[in-house]
């Protein structure tokens, strides 16, 4: 087989061929995404129940979130998902430069997302719109408005941690791409990173309406 030498660099000893290895990685990644969905799931349950108990308070409290910044962040994250998908496509076509360009774009957009989030958070902290016993704001009608901000900070915070982790992984595969670790024959790590990044986007797609639009 002509390509054996090329494969041996990444094929682990216990797989019989590269396709088996690739599919195993992908299946493993999807199961990991399933655990991520259920991890966030617990918080979605908390959101659903507290909102169902206090619909008016949630509605009043959601006006405290900045719809403009939330919308911009949604657009930023969706665009970063596009550039991530294009990074994989470039590597499929053997276009290393395209991959690097798109990964850098993705990193840049992720940074914009976190910077905007930072401004939102600091504004909230300034106003005392904080979770639980740290809540000092007085302008929201309804029972226990701090619960809204508990759930808000927990969910967007956990999401933010995932964005940060994703940036680390993207940085790592950017480095590996630059070091010529990938080719049209082997780009599994980029593909796996892409799946993870899309899931982070997907979770934001639900967080955005739940907090910014309907509360």
């Amino acid at each position: 087989m002509s390509h054996t030498a090329e494969h041996s660099s990444f094929l682990a000893h216990h797989f019989s061929d590269a396709e088996q290895q690739r599919e195993s990685a992908k299946l493993g990644m999807w199961i990991f995404l399933l655990t991520e969905i259920l991890l966030f799931g617990g918080l979605f349950v908390a959101y659903a129940i507290y909102r169902a108990w206090n619909p008016d308070m949630f509605h009043n409290a959601h006006y405290q979130l900045d719809l403009r910044l939330g919308t911009i962040n949604t657009i930023v994250l969706i665009t970063s998902s596009l550039t991530m998908a294009l990074a994989i496509r470039s590597m499929q076509l053997g276009n290393k430069k395209g991959t690097i360009r798109n990964l850098i774009l993705t990193l840049a957009l992720a940074s914009v997302f976190l910077i905007i989030k930072y401004f939102e958070y600091s504004h909230k902290i300034h106003l005392g719109q904080l979770p639980g016993k740290f809540y000092t704001f007085t302008g929201i009608e309804g029972n226990n408005p701090h619960v809204f901000f508990s759930v808000y900070f927990l969910m967007t915070g956990l999401h933010g941690i995932h964005v940060t982790a994703g940036m680390g992984v993207i940085g790592w595969i950017l480095y590996r791409t630059a070091r010529n670790h990938f080719s049209t024959q082997y780009y599994t790590p980029i593909e796996m990173t892409g799946l993870y990044w899309h899931l982070v986007d997907l979770i934001w797609i639900f967080l955005f309406p739940l907090f910014y639009l309907i509360g």
Partner: protein, 146 residues
């Protein structure tokens, strides 16, 4: 076709697909933000969730390649959402029905039990005056033999 079987042939989507999906996602974002400014009462939640679900489906099908990959991944994805739904729904059977009291409980099961409400309450934290209790019970319930 002429390549060896173990050579990986990536499934490459045309650029147009990625771009149109991204445009659709952005359009839906604008729509959902606009709709949220109108007031449909409780339907705001429904509409927002439907649009979010459409967006999520687009991301999953095209960006995450679910449409073109093995069905197994689709099953995993759907299973995650399904078990999350089970979690929410079964929990809500509790949280949404906490204050419901069924007819059975609203009435005393034993009609005679109502008499306990008419008993004079003994001093708190003292031994209950069982003698007084027995004096007030009718013969057929207290006479069971002690």
């Amino acid at each position: 076709m002429s390549k060896p079987a173990s050579t990986h042939v990536p499934h490459i989507l045309p650029l147009k697909v990625y771009l149109s999906v991204a445009v659709a996602l952005l359009v839906f974002t604008v729509i959902t933000v606009y709709i949220s400014t109108l007031n449909f009462g409780p339907f705001n939640l429904v509409v927002a969730m439907i649009i979010a679900a459409i967006k999520a489906t687009l991301v999953a099908l095209f960006f995450m390649h679910l449409r073109y990959d093995s069905k197994l991944y689709m099953i995993i994805f759907v299973a995650a959402v399904m078990f999350l739904a089970v979690f929410i729904i079964l929990t809500m059977f509790d949280t949404m029905a906490r204050d419901k009291i069924y007819d059975v409980k609203a009435r005393p099961i034993n009609p005679m039990a109502g008499m306990y409400d008419s008993l004079t309450v003994s001093q708190p934290h003292s031994v209950p005056d069982t003698a007084a209790l027995h004096r007030q019970l009718p013969a057929d319930t207290s006479g069971k033999g002690h």
